[in-house]
Amino acid sequence: MGKPKIACYWAASCGGCDVSVLDIGSKLADIVEQVEIVFWPIALDFKYKDVEAMPDQSIDICLFNGGIRNEENEHMAKLLRRKSKILIAYGACAYLGGILGLANLATLKELFSRVYRETPSTVNPENTVPQPTVKVKEGELKLSPLLEYLKPLNEVVEVDYYIPGCPPVGEKAWEALIALIKGEKPPKGTVLTADERTVCDSCPRVKEEKKIKELKRIYQVIPDPEKCFLEQGIICMGPATRGGCDAQCIKAGLPCKGCFGPAPNVEDQGARMLSALASIVEVNSEEEAKRFAESVADPAGTFYLFSLPSSMLKRRVK
């Protein structure tokens, strides 16, 4: 039996995921020895037709990063699902929708008109907007049509495993892959490289009493570097965010933004954080409750920074 066949694909992502796969320093070389990369747009020559030509299930593990934003993404997701034994949603975008998923709070129409008509530097008297197919004098040019909303991978195909993070921790990801290759298969749907507990568990900051009077925005205070952000009134997604990142951001002096997604057993990361936050604020009248709610500047954007398309509501409802 030959080396296990690995494929990597990026859909709507920034490329950070691919970089994370590569940026594991010198280890990369030896790891690459153990596998055969059969498909990797950013790294290798490929043609979609090559993939289509592969027998079904011929790819052992496919790392799929990026959300599903256009028809090409969706097509590739279905194709790779068919061709792969194990399909892994790699990184926050494929797993949860990611930051790009914030676009789901707006409609496609709004995106277009803002970007191509209303931005102050744009000069577009004919109101030109990109089209799926455009006749130019030499022939026809095609652009893959965008979907109305961005979807996480598991909304269009069945996903075997997830690797969280924006970006994921490359070393851990490879360890997980090696384990899979060795045949150590956790239950379907497992979130690999992640802790059972949330970021608080690995956060070095001292936690005393989770009671706050009001919120502070990060630019308003110089937080005590030893103390829990939340207890200082600074929103930190740590409590509602699955661990496994080794609390990198917190160690860099800034609160957790939630890129590892919800805790196990939690369906909706944002709702959980909302509830936790509203629970620790000391409120003594209905007025104070209202005032507190007002003081949370951007609930959706804060609580769902990375997970909006996989939240219960997924997108703007109306």
Binding site: G15, L141, R217, T302, L305
Partner: protein
Amino acid sequence: MGLKEISIEPITRLEGHGKITIFLDEEGDVKNAYFQFPELRGFERFCEGRQPELMPDITSRICGVCPVAHHMASTKALDDLFGLEPTSVARKIRELMYYAFYIADHSTIFYVLSAPDFVVGPQAPPAERNIVGLLRRVGAETGRYILQQRINAYKIMAIIGCKKGHPTFGIPGGVGKPLTEEERAKIEQLAKEAVEFGKFTVKLFKDVVVGNPEYLNLVKSETYYLKTYYMGLVDGKGQLNIYDGNIRVVTPSGKFFAEFPVHEYLNHIAEHVEPWSYMKFPYLKKIGWKGFVDGEDCGIYRVGPLARFNVADGIPTSEAHTAYEEMFDTLGGKPVHYTLAYHWARVIEILYAAEKMLELAQDPEITNPDVRRTADKPAREEGIGVVEAPRGVLIHHYWTDKNALLRKVNLIVATVNNNAAMNMSIRKAAKSTIRKGKVSEGLLNMVEMAFRAYDPCIACGTHVLGEKSRIPVEIYDRGGRLIRKL
């Protein structure tokens, strides 16, 4: 014989996967070539309503390859918005981070992506024309050295507090955490190595490329010549500065055209929209959009390493400046219009960044704990930040409302500035390389080289694993039926 269409896809993205489509006429000569970006994210829209202080994190997701550039431009826009000049040490830490990032980014682009074309040869079989082939030529020893230096740069970034991948350290008026003495010492030692590495790289380029008449001709050939305006940041003394400064523009003939603080960018930069690409086409507002033509009368300009060199009067670090002078001497003075010279400028910038890095690592103030400032609310309604991303001028512009939430966002992204120029370079390269329908791998690589020089934010990892490193080519007839496959 019918009109043929060659489509080269995908080219990795800034936003979305790049795609080149080349149309041949009846004779099989190139009629036109298009460079498309087939994805849209809509940051300008979905950042509305967000908290500005999250923008350094949000916008770094525009590109996972050069996130630090966006993170930095965004952080600077916040400084402006909140009216918080970063503390002197905070600014130095940011710059330190930024130079490290430059070394990581530039060295990857050069060694992994560009150098193979020269060291191994532009027309060499793709199986060899890649990092592996390159390492084989320079020898395993040197190879490991090169890879190690790249890793060192990432180490420095990690020390400063940047989360691996997407950074998290910038806040209005400061950075997340100060540097400890022991961290500084580590950085200083790595910086010393980096300076040597910079010299090594510049020398390598000179030996391999400049020293080889064939390559030098290639660089100077019409194929890679494009006569445009140039735009870049310069400091108060007109010297190269990648972190801050005024935006200077020079004409195709190298004459001073404009120099302005970033706050005036809207008077100078406008963006044109084409229906066949999701990426817009910036141009000089005062000259106007005249279509895809070069020269004095068209507003198309270029940014990036070569542009920075063309607009600056010099480089503020000695070693790099010498190399800078030498480059212009060799290529016949300013401005240099040879697209491939981007590579040369890029390697010199590695040396420049390394020298600056060492300078800062030895600055006694760098471990000062005073790295943060505070503000109760935004000081003004708008904030603008600019940096030189490795790929060129990058501008973030935010407007906030009474709740200190973003109400409007405008982004002028480095690679986008070069969008029009890239299209023209590709067309030109295609026209001069593909004739009578004859398309060889080598020839297509020559086309690729045209945009690779700009390094359109092609994910830094590109080609790293490449056993075969070229972009696929499929030739279709009018009906779109595949008639030839290389």
